[in-house]
Symmetry: C2
Subunit: 206 residues, 2 copies
Amino acid sequence: MSTYKLTYFNFPALGEPIRFLLSYGGVEFEDNRIEWSNWHQIKGTTPLGQVPILEVDGQVFYQTIPICRFLGSKFNLLGDNEMENYQIDNVVQTITDLRMKIEMVNFDKFSPPNVIEEKRAQLKSESIPFFLKNLEDIASKNDGFLAVKKLSWGDLYFAAMIDYMNWMMKGNLLEDFENLKKVYGNVMEIDGIKSYVEKRPKPQMG
Amino acid sequence: MSTYKLTYFNFPALGEPIRFLLSYGGVEFEDNRIEWSNWHQIKGTTPLGQVPILEVDGQVFYQTIPICRFLGSKFNLLGDNEMENYQIDNVVQTITDLRMKIEMVNFDKFSPPNVIEEKRAQLKSESIPFFLKNLEDIASKNDGFLAVKKLSWGDLYFAAMIDYMNWMMKGNLLEDFENLKKVYGNVMEIDGIKSYVEKRPKPQMG
């Protein structure tokens, strides 16, 4: 029986797809939620000065997407062949591209408020609908999943990231995307995810 | 016999790891190098308004890293198990993180010149050596490769990206990293890569 310890801040963001995957897999994990005030002490002990890190039997894994793919393989959430895995990798990368576009505006500390407001408006009217339309079309061909017509680690990654992007954009990004709502719903109805979500600590995201 | 068509600009950057992989695989590919002046016409025909795109027997693949992993599987450059694949994915993600940090400074069109110079200096003295030290330590344990003690698609991705990052930083980032020089050398000595590099068009990177 492997032991799992996830180290991340006390909010969803990049830690959450890993928490979702571990919860889906039905494994016990230590959900080590660090405080901002301790981060400067912990930062130097991580391989790249970044969290999340996942320790599996003491071995350190870092980099969110590689960790998620690795857990996906452990819990039978990969595709059946390399073409199917490409399809999963592709949607995960598209979600990541969108997430980073939003982060660059949301965490922009240098631009004046009116510039940030312009950028947020551009995200809302252009980038977000454009990227989500790409994913919506894919989901419409995959019976309520994002790839290969069945649940994959890409769906869990998506659902966790949508919550984070909704928080950054202060709204519901999926409002106009019926198939993506199905993807999200399919993930959130999984027993392991449901019970994790019910008991997770209240996030401290400000 | 599959047909391959890669569409990208006439410079290395994100197209180059794909060209390296196709060259390594020894397959013929149409190296469709588009001109900047035509980009506005082509952009709308791509799935995400982005290149590179790779067409394999007419089927469109997009997103650089998923494409590279897919070609890696086609040409036997994956790991032997999911832990080994994690190790490859991990270094590829670390290279990507560094590449994006450099791009954000190199293509910053908004900051005044003195701020950009400060950021370039910070890259040179902090981020670049920090990220490359992580990879150097990994390479030192893997006999001149970046993972699993043998050639993987991660090494080809690394060598192509180093050229791009060197160009952005106007220098040789590997100067102080003996093991990473070995990784780079091991890739550039591969027959297929060598003959591609000899015959590739002169890049138009300004």
